[in-house]
């Protein structure tokens, strides 16, 4: 029986935020954490799988397009379909959309530039496993670092996402207002993070793992990991 959350961080050739998120999970949260090589296919020992940021397979063809067909992603898809929890950060979000685990796609930033800076995102729901430790409407200061974060989906998909409350994070101003100026990449509906309809798969462009240790000057991302601890550790203990 597990006495803590069992977490796997997927490592693709080209992942570069794998160690950052591993550090937060293992050393800050104290979870039993291991790396998952992209050729692995047995993930049955895990409660939570994290697809980290980076440039999997060089982002050739499209961000996430090649990663989606890697052996580990078939296993991640099975894991998610069975209700396992999956968090995709940045490139991980791109892979989740390519794999069809989240709807829509992430296009080139409207500015055409790679953007690496802090942004403000508003927590739109706190009744999810990923956000339960935040207060409703909280505005987080979290860094982004991407060239393709411009969220796009057709009108029907967007309507469905809004109606079912699947938009979890939105780019806002420091005081929490929706403003085109506060949207760094042109994302439709200012979408920065998206939950699947079942509530077990979250994709987000901002990097919570880069805002989790006080030594880095900000900790607004830590709440995401605290939420998972709150929501999942109890369930893991019962197993």
């Amino acid at each position: 029986m597990a006495d803590t959350l069992r977490v796997g961080v997927v490592v693709f050739p080209g992942s570069n935020c794998d160690h950052d998120v591993y550090y937060v999970c293992k050393h800050q949260m104290g979870w039993r954490t291991r790396f998952i090589w992209h050729k692995e296919t047995d993930l049955r020992d895990l409660d939570l799988i994290i697809l980290p940021g980076g440039f999997s397979y060089g982002d050739y063809l499209r961000s996430g397009a090649i990663a989606r067909f890697s052996p580990v992603m078939h296993a991640v898809t099975r894991f998610a379909r069975k209700g396992g929890y999956v968090l995709g950060i940045c490139n991980g979000f791109q892979i989740l959309t390519e794999a069809g685990l989240l709807p829509g796609a992430l296009l080139r930033n409207a500015s055409l530039r790679f953007i690496c800076r802090d942004v403000f995102v508003r927590v739109e729901r706190t009744d999810t496993a990923f956000t339960s430790a935040y207060s409703p409407g909280a505005v987080l200061r979290i860094p982004i670092a991407h060239g393709e974060g411009n969220y796009t989906a057709d009108a029907d998909t967007l309507r469905r996402l809004e109606e079912s409350g699947q938009v979890i994070f939105r780019y806002v101003t420091a005081d929490g207002r929706l403003d085109p100026e506060a949207n760094p990449n042109g994302s439709m509906h200012h979408i920065a993070g998206l939950l699947n309809d079942r509530g077990n798969v979250l994709g987000m462009m901002p990097h919570p793992e880069r805002a989790a240790d006080p030594v880095l000057g900000r900790t607004d991302g830590l709440g995401l990991f605290a939420s998972l601890a709150e929501s999942l550790v109890g369930a893991a203990l019962k197993r």
Binding site: R62, P103, R108, A110
Partner: protein, 90 residues
């Protein structure tokens, strides 16, 4: 006839998707004096070289590959521009 074929696949952003790369290129071309220029759209041209029993089968395989991987239907359309015979046997 069995042989080696080269299939040319064109992948383009769907018309409804904004193409910031094309927009920036259009802007640059207009600055070069091409004022008549209305629009620039940038896509990909992919060559697949493959062995198949006949050109129709080569095209079918390329289309399947394009649907599975080469194009993302959320943002892109594709079409087969040509099937070239590289080497025909028998």
């Amino acid at each position: 006839m069995s042989g080696m074929y080269r299939v040319h696949v064109r992948v383009r952003l769907r018309p409804s998707i904004l193409d910031p790369q094309g927009k920036a290129t259009r802007q640059a071309l207009r600055q070069l004096g091409y004022e008549a220029l209305e629009e620039v759209r940038i896509g990909k041209w992919i060559e697949l070289t493959l062995r198949a029993p006949d050109p129709a089968e080569a095209e079918r395989l390329a289309e399947e590959a394009a649907r599975k991987l080469l194009a993302n239907p959320v943002m892109e359309d594709f079409d087969i521009l040509a099937v070239e015979t590289i080497e025909a046997v028998g």
